[in-house]
Amino acid sequence: MIDLFQYDFFTNALLAALLTSISCGIIGSYIVARRMVFIGGGITHASFGGIGIAYFLGINPMFGAAVFAVLSAMGINWLTNRGNLRQDSSIAIWWSLGMAIGVIFIALTPGYAPNLMSFLFGSILTVSGTDLLFMAVVSTLTALTFFLFFKTIMIISFDEEFAKARNMPVKTFDYLLITLSALAIVASIRVSGVILVLSLLTLPQATANIFTRKFRNISIASIAIGFTAMFAGLITSYHTNLPSGATIILILTLFFALGKLIASLKFRSL
């Protein structure tokens, strides 16, 4: 295993795992606490539209994905408020619209789209320096925001109306946090792809939530669980030649099942 570390692609992958487990650990805890997981799903899939357009234009797909993710995050809110649409319908529209745009632009691009699978299912072993930089920026911004404004975020997330009655900048924080969520999702697409990324934002949190009901502890535990699963997934996929993204998700699910099992044994012994 030691010799794995001699490869640049492997150290890059590990670095990517560390950075995305930080952003996913924190943002996932926020999304789960506010019951916004389905919004996350909408943003994730909508970002595929940006990947398709970027492919067509020959620019960095992550850039296209980031633009689409942020726009769809705003768009879901906008369509819900202005379009007088129920939120789940609004999410579904952006979800499928993004996928449709992505598929059309990839079809319009001449030649074979070799990396398509990597965007759908992830390929952490091919992260580039630019990807790592993007991940580092997103993780730092996320950690900093939650460190500086933790109490404010908790108050607004728990009871938005109370926060409004107290004249807190509720709208500003809602937009800031949904933008950070969109960026965290895009940063993780490299790890597990558009289709699987949602579990990076929910499985570690669900596992941590078995043992603790404190937001701070859930975030920290999620980072640890996420990183451990990504590390184990990388090693496993290297030795078995299985796709890394899917392997990571399977390991995360295994952790969750294990957590449930431990909790039920503990409960029985009491």
């Binding site: 109490k151 109370f162 009655a165 107290r166 009901r213 937001f215």
Partner: protein, 252 residues
């Protein structure tokens, strides 16, 4: 009597629908006003307008100088059923969040507020649950915690939205006793659908069913309710100290 809030001809509409119309009410320091009315009659709308969560369609709400710091001078206890009880937040965090305000959003509360926290948790008798996540509380404990959040900023007016739902009779009684005690240092505006219980504690009753009528006494007859166009069911509670219904003669 020192006036805190004066509401003049307040009307709130949601699109075409008029929720409350021409409300006139003045709330002063020792007031304890119970607002009753049918579901959908505009009780919560009135509270939200006072809290600044809804803009008046016409009319105005004038806050006196005593309420210059409008946010923390009004304590608000919302209906507890609207909360996500699985949200990962502790009792302590919920109570302390009551310190938040316009100028305190970067650091809504700090170590300095711990003294206030301590006196509130002992006053409300919640010491033993202070580190628990709110999801593990009973209905009555939950009400105490949210009352703590409303009280920690030492408000001059306490606004409560149906605090008597989702709690047992025992707690309901304790809650009203607590409110009578609190009324010595703050005005209270309480919304309830249960006229029977509140009338034995409040000093004045207001009926709201789109239109608003204030009745400056805690004794109200079914005929008067009818005259106020306030069709609510009256439940008499045997053990409460006041007679709620029936014959009475009082001066206005």
């Amino acid at each position: 009597m020192s006036e805190l809030i004066e509401i003049r001809n307040l009307t709130v509409r949601y699109g075409e629908y008029t929720a409350i119309k021409d409300v006139n009410l003045s709330i002063s320091q020792p007031d304890f006003i119970g607002v009753i009315g049918p579901n959908g009659g505009g009780k919560t709308t009135l509270l939200k307008a006072i809290l600044g969560l809804l803009q008046p369609s016409s009319g105005e709400i004038i806050f006196s100088e005593k309420l210059e710091n409008k946010q923390s001078d009004i304590g608000y206890l919302p209906q507890i059923n609207k909360f996500d009880h699985r949200f990962p937040i502790s009792v302590k965090e919920v109570i302390l969040s009551g310190m938040a305000g316009k100028n305190r959003w970067i650091k809504p509360y700090s170590k300095k507020d711990d003294k206030k926290l301590e006196s509130i948790i002992s006053e409300l008798d919640v010491e033993h649950i202070v580190h628990k996540p709110i999801g593990e509380l009973s209905g009555g404990q939950m009400q105490r915690v949210f009352l703590g959040r409303a009280l920690i900023s030492e408000p001059k007016l306490l606004v409560l939205d149906e605090p008597d739902t989702y709690v047992d009779n025992q707690f309901e009684h304790e809650l009203y006793e607590m409110l009578v005690e609190l009324n010595k240092r703050m005005a209270i505006l309480l919304v309830s659908h249960d006229v029977g219980t509140i009338s034995s504690y409040v000093k004045g009753i207001a009926c709201i069913n789109t239109e608003f009528n204030y009745h400056p006494s805690n004794v109200i007859s079914p005929e008067q309710l009818k005259a106020y166009n306030c069709p609510i069911q009256i439940i008499t509670h045997g053990e409460v100290p006041h007679t709620v219904l029936g014959q009475h003669d009082h001066q206005h």
